[in-house]
């Protein structure tokens, strides 16, 4: 089926949306302050990375909304000195959004519920200044090795990696009663990655969407429960499907003490939708943000910021 046609009524400029979905994604890297910064001097990590790229003939242009994200004019950012040294991590621009919205503060305890392969985990570690307990969990043992190797190359030392089902995650191994913040970068149908994986929609089924949505609801509920009153939970997917986005928020708003709140980010976005396929959602899901590929020339994304009730 034509999966994207489901969204014709949601997108402001459907032709531009389709055209963007067919274009390959620009190459981007994220600057990793843990290794690119030199505490002893004042030089900015971003400038140091850009200079190192320039020495190799690679132009690196900071994104307007996040100067730590650089668009690079090479197809192989992995074969550069900044990569070898862990100064950068290859990461799609819009995927750098959830940790920014999470806004972790150095020293806090943070849970990344579905962490592998670790792009956002390592970004959270960087925002934490590599201080405080960062628990990176993934239920898929096979994907943990990618998480671990990314964390190590990027010099992360404040992470504990666990292999639990996030839906009934136990904090028992740790001396914390609750996390200050939690990130749910949920497993999803990945429709928004179509620019990177043109075949991603080939195996799309409504049944898979419904089944993954069930998992998402379980993980997000557990994240709200495991976060301290007043704490922040960020829910993100790389899909357009409302079943996996607003419907998940609606489900959790109905069952856990939390709220969806607005946030500022310098990207063009669309608000969360309150109606889909005959179903009405809690009005608060409007505060979530949808990112369509044509809006900022990125992949597709969904990101909501939740505050846990006091």
């Amino acid at each position: 089926m034509d999966v994207l046609a489901r969204y014709e009524s949601l997108v402001d400029d459907y032709e531009a949306f389709l055209a963007a979905c067919e274009r390959p994604l620009p190459q981007a890297v994220r600057v990793n302050g843990i290794k690119a910064s030199r505490p002893a001097d004042e030089e900015d990590a971003v400038e140091r990375v850009r200079e190192a790229f320039a020495d190799e003939g690679v132009e690196a242009t900071p994104a307007d909304w996040n100067p730590r994200v650089l668009r690079v004019d090479t197809d192989e950012p992995g074969n550069t000195w900044p990569y070898v040294h862990g100064w950068v991590h290859g990461q799609e621009e819009v995927s750098a959004l959830p940790p920014v919205v999470l806004d972790p503060q150095p020293g806090e305890a943070v849970w990344d519920a579905a962490a592998a392969p670790g792009s956002k985990t390592t970004q959270v570690a960087d925002l934490l200044d590599d201080r405080g307990l960062l628990v990176a969990n993934d239920s898929n043992l096979g994907r943990l090795s990618a998480l671990r190797s990314n964390a190590e190359r990027l010099g992360v030392t404040n992470v504990a990696v666990t292999n639990q089902d996030a839906r009934n995650f136990s904090l028992n191994p740790f001396e914390v009663d609750a996390f200050d913040r939690a990130l749910v970068d949920a497993p999803c149908s990945c429709e928004g990655t179509i620019r990177k994986n043109p075949t991603v929609l080939d195996d799309w089924t409504q049944g898979h969407v419904e089944s993954v949505a069930g998992i998402q609801k379980g993980i997000l509920r557990r994240a709200v429960q495991a976060t301290t009153p007043g704490g922040v939970v960020v829910y993100a997917t790389c899909t357009f499907a409302p079943e996996e986005n607003e419907a998940v928020l609606d489900h959790v708003l109905d069952r856990e003490d939390c709220n969806v709140v607005d946030y500022e980010v310098g990207l063009e976005t669309s608000p969360g939708i309150t109606e889909w396929d005959g179903e009405q959602f809690d009005e608060r899901v409007r505060e979530a943000k949808r990112v369509y590929p044509h809006q900022n020339d990125t992949g597709g994304f969904f990101c909501a910021k939740l505050e846990v009730g006091e």
Partner: protein, 187 residues
């Protein structure tokens, strides 16, 4: 090469997952004792010994590691965690793989050297760019070096600073690249 040659072990690739043959539960991390007086497990390195190793071998000041705790998982693999955790703790990974102990010549990991090696003042060999390329590709080199044999921090100059690349094993005029297979690159 002699029997106790530090290169004779099979951990040229510091794959943190390759814990074959260890006697401990591989998912159980235990904090290193502060000093030998507090040591409960035979052969386990102490925090003091670990900090002294970096200081004596590479001139990395002990205060570099003030905020870190050290953990052993499996036989001899020491991990560094920024902060602390209950000991023992059963998790998949805790901080970063840091140092291979329980062998005559302790060996830092590539990641530890990249993370902490900028503070090193001794046993650091600086390579020109072309040699640095070959080193990260996993090639052995024959550089000019009249310092100590054994594990060296290998570095090169990058945008105005000396930046550690990894660990090299220097013996008999040859610098063997210890860069793990998964980290090698053709630049």
């Amino acid at each position: 090469m002699s029997e106790d040659d530090p290169g004779a072990d099979d951990d040229r690739e510091d794959d943190p997952g390759a814990d074959g043959g260890c006697e401990n539960d591989p998912e159980r991390f235990e904090r290193l004792p502060a000093t030998a007086d507090e040591r409960g497990v035979e052969g386990r390195a102490t925090r003091q010994e670990v900090v002294d190793f970096w200081d004596e071998r590479f001139g990395v000041p002990p205060e570099t590691f003030e905020a870190f705790t050290f953990w052993e998982k499996g036989a001899g693999k020491v991990w560094a965690l920024h902060g602390d955790a209950p000991s023992p703790i059963e998790v998949e990974a805790l901080g970063m793989t840091f140092l291979r102990t329980r062998q005559e010549h302790w060996k830092p990991t590539t990641d530890a050297v990249q993370r902490f090696g900028r503070a090193a003042t001794e046993n650091v060999i600086e390579l020109p760019r072309e040699h640095a390329r070959r080193f990260v590709a996993g090639e052995d080199l024959e550089p000019e070096w009249d310092g100590d044999w054994g594990y060296l921090i290998v570095a090169h100059e990058l945008v105005g600073g000396l930046e550690p690349l990894g660990v090299g094993l220097f013996t008999y005029g040859t610098l063997q690249s210890m860069v793990p297979k998964g980290r090698r690159r053709d630049l």
